[in-house]
């Protein structure tokens, strides 16, 4: 078994129109920019995207939105230094937004990966974001029922990966990547460095290979922050 693929284009080629796609990262850290750009080139439309944010500038997720490929975004914080792409699409009514508290977003994704269809959280109780959701009391405190979140595909960024899909991450670029890897039918990881089997210490594996379907090496990944400072526009 070897989960390595030679090209980004091949990795995203089976993402169909209408797919739900989780995209890792928090702001630019851990964002799989090259996979997102490959998805732009691939051209799948009417996507539902799950990400903590809504893109920044005109690269990565912002570019995917700018190309009109995203019908709906599920996120916690659709603001950034330069959120003009999402903001314009939202104001124009061309993109739907499901706003989810950040911890609830993380837990819903984790639940999707762990086979937990619903759970209760104190978060958002009594707020507009709990409207329409079941509420229950446990030990005298009120909680909101939230549902799992799953995806057809997850596009994630990791630091090292082996042929079986074991992954490690780099610093705070870990963020949503490991949990999204668990919650998608097909998880595609771009990794900065492919190592041989055994190249990752068993104690240091963060994402075991069972959660990963494809590994593509992108040896010098772009940083969203750097691209935006250089005012790059993709494509």
């Amino acid at each position: 078994m070897d989960k390595r693929l030679a090209s980004l284009a091949e990795a995203v080629s089976r993402i169909p129109d209408g797919a739900t796609v989780m995209i890792g990262g928090f702001g630019g850290s851990g964002a799989p920019i090259e996979l997102i750009h490959a998805l732009i080139d691939h051209g799948a439309k009417h996507l539902t995207v799950v990400n903590n944010n809504a893109g920044n500038g005109h690269v990565g997720l912002a570019a995917l939105i700018e190309q009109g490929q995203v019908d709906k975004l599920i996120c916690s914080f659709p603001r950034s230094a330069d959120p003009v792409v999402f903001t314009e699409a939202y104001r124009a009514g061309s993109i739907e937004l499901e706003l989810v508290p950040q911890g609830t977003l993380a837990e819903r994704i984790r639940a999707g990966g762990a086979g937990i269809p619903a759970f209760y959280t104190p978060t958002s109780y009594g707020t507009d974001l709990a409207k329409g959701k079941p509420v229950a009391e446990f030990d005298g405190r009120s909680y909101v029922q939230e549902r799992w979140l799953k995806a057809d595909f997850a596009l994630i960024k990791a630091e090292t990966g082996d042929p079986h899909g074991n992954l490690t991450y780099r610093m705070a670029a870990r963020n949503f990547n490991p949990i999204m890897a668990t919650a998608a039918a097909v998880t595609i990881a771009q990794v900065t460095r492919v190592v041989e089997r055994g190249g990752i210490d068993p104690e240091q594996v963060v994402t075991p290979g069972i959660f990963v379907d494809h590994v593509v090496e992108v040896a010098a990944p772009a940083q969203e922050e750097a691209l935006n400072r250089a005012e790059v526009v993709y494509p």
Binding site: R110, G112, G115, T182, G198, P202, V205, G209, I210
Partner: protein
């Protein structure tokens, strides 16, 4: 009717047969005891990846006696080894793999399997100290839940039954049963006979089975290498 004892497969042969259905690269959890034998019979050129509930994926073989590291064990508390590609993780992550549908196959033993796919394999209902372990999780997580079992009990009574009489492990969860006499799929609340040992007739097989065996298409010959016996 030929004596079942003479024609039935050994446990090793049942395990061998189950091993033939495991694809290269499949993620597999083998129940404690008899199902563990499946790992021995992986076909040449295929490599399954084994998961154990206590937090190890892609482990190696048992160490030589005296070489055990008791921090490196499987769910049966037997010593295992690491190999290139092994990963360690905690129990909640381990059962996220199980419950989250990430295993391709779980292979378990059984007291009874019903035509509905219900499984009873954790309690004989007779008192004593009850113990469940991970069985109830495994039957609801893996994409395929296979059972390895003798076709009948020691007293000759069917283990494939119309309805389980013992406490259930899971409802409607078993997808395929490998017995000492047959390979039986469970679909839409029915036993579908796929293979049987050549020496037993369909009628005789039905006589030791507690619910109707349906036939769809050809019935294959269930033959395993002799030398495993």
């Amino acid at each position: 009717m030929s004596d079942i004892q003479d024609i039935k497969l050994s446990n090793a042969q049942i395990a061998w047969r189950a091993a033939q259905d495991i694809e290269d690269g499949a993620y597999v959890n083998l129940g404690i005891g008899f199902p563990e034998m499946v790992a021995r019979f992986q076909p040449e050129g295929r490599q399954a990846i084994f998961h154990t509930e206590n937090g190890v994926l892609d482990f190696g073989k048992a160490p030589a006696p005296g070489e055990e590291d008791w921090d490196c064990i499987n769910a049966g508390k037997k010593a295992i080894t690491i190999k290139p590609g092994t990963a360690f993780f905690h129990h909640a992550d381990s059962f996220a793999m199980v419950r989250g549908g990430h295993l391709d196959v779980a292979i378990l033993g059984a007291y009874e399997v019903a035509q509905s796919g219900d499984l009873a394999n954790w309690s004989t209902g007779k008192g004593g100290v009850p113990a469940v372990g991970g069985a109830m999780d495994l039957v609801h997580g893996a994409r395929r839940v296979a059972v390895l079992t003798d076709h009948v009990t020691k007293k000759g009574e069917p283990k494939l039954v119309a309805e389980c009489t013992l406490p259930l492990t899971g409802v409607g969860c078993v997808t395929r049963v490998y017995t000492s006499l047959a390979v039986v799929d469970i679909e839409d609340g029915k036993f579908i006979l796929r293979e049987k040992v050549p020496a037993i007739s369909l009628e005789d097989l039905q006589a030791v089975t507690g619910a109707p065996l349906h036939v769809e298409g050809e019935i294959g010959d269930l033959i395993a290498p002799e030398e495993l016996a």
